[in-house]
């Protein structure tokens, strides 16, 4: 049909020529992934730290969340802005309304033009923000990643919520206490290849090897793909397959909420202990109706607070981002910079009936 007319024929002919040209080119040598040079420049390690320096007054900080109007990130950033007032600085939050890879870039350029003292960024894409962040560091603007890291050479510090080991082990410890270290347990995870989930699960399995867990048996790791409906069905499936199940750990906010919803309406309510990572707003009603006794997550306010002080310490020359340097983060106390400029906030916060109403996110 299409080929019966001249234009169509010519188009196809052009396409064919181009294709053969492309294939011919591919036979020649060119720059490929393997032949390309891999450079990594370590930024920020050039300056010298002066641990005795006081925090400078009037520092200008900017928080750049993954996306503006995200309730979780708003809590983090507001806490950071509040913290800035404690040491006589000012903070602001700017950012895109969508969390696409590139949307943060124009904001970084703007913050450079505005000569901020420090930029705190929760990166949507570890690399898309790299160019302008390096530019910022070149102009002596300090860069602190929080919540979601950038490539290592594009920031001086990364404020991590909690270490993977801490999260994995503490969830097993909590559940162990709740079920008296006895009985069969299961894990409801997100997707089968989620890196953070799998790291936590590895630490859970390792923790379970300790003698005190000898009567606790992990029978299954189920995957709800971080979809509410699927997580709900997986919970249902777990209870059918293992009616004597004592506990479920769901280290995903979607999974734990879906599992709680299933348990709250079933005969297993109160008999099966559910623990994991969740947000207070999602889990409030299940804590109040006794479906769930406790769950954990890091405290987002403390994350912002720590980030703010870390940025101020950098901008005041107390630290440069090198491993082993120490700085004081106001009421949270002293922190030490770990490998690759990572600072870990600490143990996850445990939410239960007593404290859940003091959190809103």
């Amino acid at each position: 049909m299409m080929l019966r007319n001249a234009a169509g024929r010519r188009a196809v002919a052009t396409a064919a020529t181009a294709l053969s040209l492309a294939l011919a080119l591919s036979a020649c040598s060119g720059t490929t992934k393997d032949s390309s040079d891999k450079e990594s420049t370590k930024a920020g390690a050039t300056a010298k730290a002066d641990p005795g320096a006081a925090l400078k007054k009037g520092l200008k900080l900017a928080f750049l969340p993954k996306q503006i109007n995200n309730p979780y990130e708003k809590i983090v950033d507001d806490a950071g802005i509040e913290a800035a007032k404690e040491y006589g600085g000012t903070g602001k939050e700017v950012g895109p309304s969508d969390a696409s890879a590139s949307s943060q870039v124009s904001y970084i350029n703007t913050l450079i033009q505005q000569r901020q003292d420090a930029i705190l960024v929760a990166a949507n894409d570890p690399n898309a923000v790299c160019g302008p962040l390096k530019q910022a560091m070149k102009k002596n603007i300090k860069v602190v990643a929080y919540d979601s890291d950038t490539a290592k050479e594009c920031r001086q510090l990364f404020i991590n919520q909690a270490s993977s080991e801490e999260i994995g082990r503490s969830l097993v410890q909590h559940l162990g206490e709740q079920i008296g270290y006895q009985g069969r347990i299961a894990i409801l995870s997100a997707t089968q290849n989620a890196t953070n989930q799998n790291t936590w699960i590895e630490f859970m399995k390792d923790e379970l090897k300790l003698p005190k867990y000898k009567d606790m048996k992990l029978v299954k790791v189920a995957y709800g793909d971080d979809a509410d409906q699927k997580s709900f069905q997986q919970t249902q499936g777990l209870m059918q397959a293992y009616p004597d199940l004592k506990g479920i750990i769901s280290p995903t906010t979607v999974g734990i909420a879906a599992a709680a919803r299933y348990l709250s309406d079933s005969s297993y309510k109160g008999k099966v202990v559910l623990n994991g990572l969740g947000t207070p707003n999602q889990m409030r009603k299940y804590v109040k109706d006794d479906t769930v006794e406790q769950f954990s997550l890091w405290n987002p306010e403390e994350l912002g607070y720590l980030g703010s002080y870390a940025a101020a310490a950098l901008a005041s020359g107390q630290i440069t981002g090198a491993q082993g340097e120490k700085f004081k983060a106001g009421k949270l106390g002293e922190y030490t910079i770990g490998k690759d400029g990572e600072v870990i906030l600490g143990k996850p916060t445990v939410f239960d009936k007593k404290n859940i109403d003091t959190f809103d996110f």
Partner: protein
């Protein structure tokens, strides 16, 4: 008419730039100007063929998806160990293929371009997700990414290489649209397709050519985008089609076809880019920026019609007043 719309947009652009220089620290720095223009490089590149399409009374909503597909393909092939020199023609070819499909559905099957490209908008974005999933490929060598980043400028100017490329292509497009028979045919098709057909213009072939060009430019913009951010992703350029079409309409290209100048379209693109930069520099929230862009767009579509209506009424009144 006293002032043509495209001239007015050009004047507004100059006014905004002057206002920015006077009020906002850092706006006039070469570094910021390089950034502000490079930030809209992909939108600007796609706006060129889009102008031709809209002049001819057509539209292509699949451009941003094609950009995403171009980016995803670049990433997937790079990850598979292909040479970058090979990836470029293959990605461009994918753009041509996408354009051919759009053009074929419009010209041979006879579907309206709006409907066709709403469909292929989803299709190409879907293919991009198939090609790369939700991963990002980021290990491109500096030799290539430096070519597109916001901080590498043509020596002695604040122009980045993608912007320089845009200027060259804009001049070529302006010549094609305003100084060739093909350009006149586009206006004719946009104004009255049937009349153009009977005047001997090969309407279908030209339309096919337009869609292919748009697909090609969009895929190319996908490569530029990938290098500029050093990150190939299937969701790159999400929603850009609206920015491209908004810029073109703002520049005075009539959505019904047949009217407009490339100067206007370019002024429209630059105006949106400069405004965005200026508003961000002044910490104006993103929502407000979206509203400003929206209002400008509404104004650009409405104003010429209002002016036309006023002129019409005045003519009629003058005719009535005649004895």
């Amino acid at each position: 008419m006293a002032l043509r719309w495209d001239t007015a947009v050009g004047a507004l652009l100059v006014a905004v730039v002057v206002a920015g220089l006077g009020t906002t620290d850092g706006f006039g720095s070469g570094e910021n100007l390089a950034f502000a223009f490079n930030d809209i490089a992909e939108v600007a590149l796609i706006a060129l063929p889009m102008t031709l399409l809209v002049v001819a009374g057509q539209v292509d909503l699949s451009v941003a998806s094609m950009l995403g597909l171009g980016s995803a393909l670049t990433g997937a092939l790079w990850d598979a160990g292909w040479a970058f020199e090979t990836i470029v023609p293959v990605v461009l070819l994918a753009g041509v293929a996408g354009g051919l499909l759009n053009g074929w559905l419009v010209t041979r099957v006879g579907l309206p371009s709006l409907a066709v490209t709403i469909g292929t908008l989803a299709l190409y974005r879907g293919l991009a997700s198939v090609a790369l999933g939700s991963d990002a490929v980021t290990d491109f060598p500096r030799t290539y990414t430096d070519w597109a980043v916001d901080t590498t400028t043509v020596p002695g100017t604040f122009l980045t290489y993608p912007v320089l490329l845009f200027i060259v292509l804009a001049v070529i497009t302006a010549i094609v649209l305003h100084a060739t028979g093909l350009g006149r045919s586009l206006f004719a098709i946009g104004a009255q397709e049937e009349a153009a057909y009977f005047a001997g213009i090969r309407v279908k072939r030209i339309k096919l050519l337009l869609f292919v060009t748009t697909g090609l430019f969009s895929a190319f913009a996908g490569i530029v985008f990938t290098l500029r951010y050093g990150s190939a992703r299937a969701d790159n350029g999400l929603g850009f089609e609206m920015l491209v079409i908004a810029s073109v309409l703002l520049g005075g290209i009539d959505f019904d076809g047949g009217k407009g100048t490339l100067f206007g379209a370019v002024a429209g693109v630059l105006l949106i880019g400069v405004l965005k930069n200026l508003l961000t520099l002044n910490d104006i929230a993103n929502e407000v920026q979206v509203i400003v862009t929206g209002l400008l767009l509404v104004a650009s579509v409405l104003t010429p019609r209002v002016i036309a209506a006023v002129v019409e009424r005045r003519h009629r009144r003058a005719a009535d007043a005649r004895p």
